[in-house]
């Protein structure tokens, strides 16, 4: 893998980020605003600020075709930012939730988006022409706790959601008049709104941090707080899945993951670097890290002399200085996104972290 491009934007945690389709614009959630960075040469320069939320922005997503940006925040609101010649124009979305909005993603069709919340609902939002207004319908049952993450199936009807009640679920978010009838799939044939197509729990019942459909949509992977990732292969409606493969790792938990083809997953989280998993129906394995260790500039430049050793022992009580991370990210990676790729395979991806 080529060495990473590092863009240091600011000294604040980044809750979420999103690139535009042409990769010239980067939206970053920073406190109560969303900052838009434009690519100038090899660097990203701040070009606009989207101010409209009055509490921390938790998630941001740019629709690749329309260029619309959706943001959601702890102030319980979601805003759709419409690009116009004079800048971005916000429209409020009627979410009808009483707790923070935690996560937002456009459906692949870009006619809907899903907002996860701390109110134990997922708001499926769509534009109502007659009222000229974004409205929402709630996925409620059987969510028992905060939604931490959502991921869309390629058909724009099925939605996977991870929750702090330790379940990963697959719902139908079919909305009449907006969606075309989906093709029957392993997840089901008739899919009225709020059909629960799958509900999965991991072995030690840890919070689910990330869910992801495989590129075909026929498998679902989720990562949880017990340092595991689980891949589910459903076999059909009302039937037990063909296979549920769980990999318990020796690492810290993963916060985000993306598929690279049907047999590879890239996951990253509290270990501050990205790892690769490979496998299929019969089993999955952690195959290693994506970072080349010992990159120049990070290695110990200090000479290993006896004097130095005793100096370290005297000053710090130990010989080796293990307070430095050898990874590119120096803190938890919160989101991974596909940066460049086609037909479900990823050639470049982006990640972000606390400073």
């Amino acid at each position: 893998m080529a060495s990473p491009e590092v863009h240091h934007l600011f000294h604040r945690p980044i809750a979420d980020h999103s690139f535009s389709a042409d990769r010239q614009t980067l939206a970053v959630a920073k406190d109560t605003t969303v900052e838009l960075y434009g690519k100038v040469g090899n660097a990203f320069k701040l070009k606009d600020e989207l101010k409209g939320h009055d509490k921390t922005v938790t998630s941001v997503d740019i629709a690749p075709e329309s260029g619309r940006i959706v943001t959601c925040s702890q102030d319980r609101n979601a805003l759709v930012w419409e690009p116009s010649p004079t800048g971005y124009k916000p429209t409020l979305v009627l979410l009808r939730i009483a707790r923070a909005a935690t996560f937002v993603r456009w459906s692949p069709s870009e006619t809907k988006f899903a907002v996860g919340s701390g109110d134990r609902v997922i708001a499926i939002c769509y534009f109502e022409e007659e009222n000229d207004w974004w409205v929402s319908k709630h996925l409620k049952k059987p969510i028992r706790s905060t939604i931490t993450t959502v991921n869309w199936h390629p058909n724009s009807v099925l939605l996977a959601a991870g929750s702090t009640d330790a379940h990963a679920r697959v719902f139908s978010s079919f909305i009449k008049g907006i969606d075309a009838r989906p093709e029957p799939s392993v997840w089901g044939e008739r899919l009225p709104f709020n059909t629960v197509c799958g509900e999965y729990l991991n072995n030690s019942a840890g919070w689910v941090h990330s869910v992801a459909f495989s590129p075909s949509g026929n498998a679902l992977a989720f990562a949880a707080h017990d340092s595991s990732i689980t891949i589910v292969y459903p076999s059909g409606p009302e039937q037990p899945p063909q296979a549920v493969v769980s990999v318990s790792t020796q690492l810290l938990p993963f916060m985000s993951m993306i598929w690279n083809g049907e047999d590879e997953i890239i996951a990253a989280g509290y270990d501050c670097e990205a790892f690769r998993f490979q496998g299929g129906l019969s089993g999955w394995q952690l195959t290693g890290t994506l970072e080349a260790k010992g990159r120049p500039g990070l290695g110990d430049a200090r000479e290993e002399s006896a004097l130095n050793m005793f100096k370290q022992m005297d000053l710090k009580g130990k010989v080796k200085d293990d307070t430095q991370l050898k990874t590119v990210h120096q803190n938890t990676i919160t989101t991974l996104r596909v940066y460049e790729g086609r037909n479900g395979s990823v050639s470049k991806f982006s990640s972000e972290s606390h400073p």
Binding site: N203, S204, A205, G206, W207, A224, H225, D226, S227, S228, S248, T249, Q250, L251, L252, P253
Partner: protein, 154 residues
């Protein structure tokens, strides 16, 4: 959950099969049992661990970890370690000290303080601590993470 067969474990231990005894303990952890059953099981686990030589610990753990479904067994063992390693800080994890009755020595004038560790628990704790280190070496931080995440406490 059925009561783990302590007798079977003891028998394996007497027969010199410490690894089998350890596996036996870990395959049937007491999650839903009464406090008494949990304590009895804990004593069995400590007994088994104490019977294993220090030089045997890492190879045995590695064998268990590499076997089919073995990583789960090691995670269960980590839950017992949690009691020794984190009893002071982590809420919810049980400490083996509180239920032990102090043994009368005949010389004590004021009687033992309740909750004060006596010699046998001290030894039990130190055995758990030395195992904790070995388990982390084999199963990594992920194992601690699972032990802290899991609602099923031993």
């Amino acid at each position: 959950m059925c009561e783990p067969s302590t007798d079977e474990v003891r028998q394996l231990l007497r027969g010199g099969d410490a690894e089998g005894a350890l596996r036996g303990c870990l395959e049937n952890p007491v999650y839903n049992g009464s406090e008494v059953a949990k304590d009895a099981h804990l004593q069995t686990v400590i007994e088994v661990l104490q019977s294993i030589k220090a030089s045997e610990m890492t190879p045995m753990l590695q064998r268990i970890y590499d076997s089919e479904g073995g990583s789960e067994l090691v995670d269960v063992l980590m839950k017992y370690k949690g009691m020794a390693g984190g009893s002071a800080s982590s809420g919810g994890l049980r400490t083996p000290t509180r239920n032990l009755t102090p043994q009368a020595t005949g010389f004590s004038q004021i009687g033992s303080r309740p909750g004060a560790p006596n010699e046998s628990t001290g030894a039990g704790m130190s055995v758990l601590l030395s195992w904790h280190e070995k388990v982390v070496d084999v199963a990594g931080l992920g194992s601690i993470q699972r032990c802290m995440t899991d609602w099923r406490k031993v």
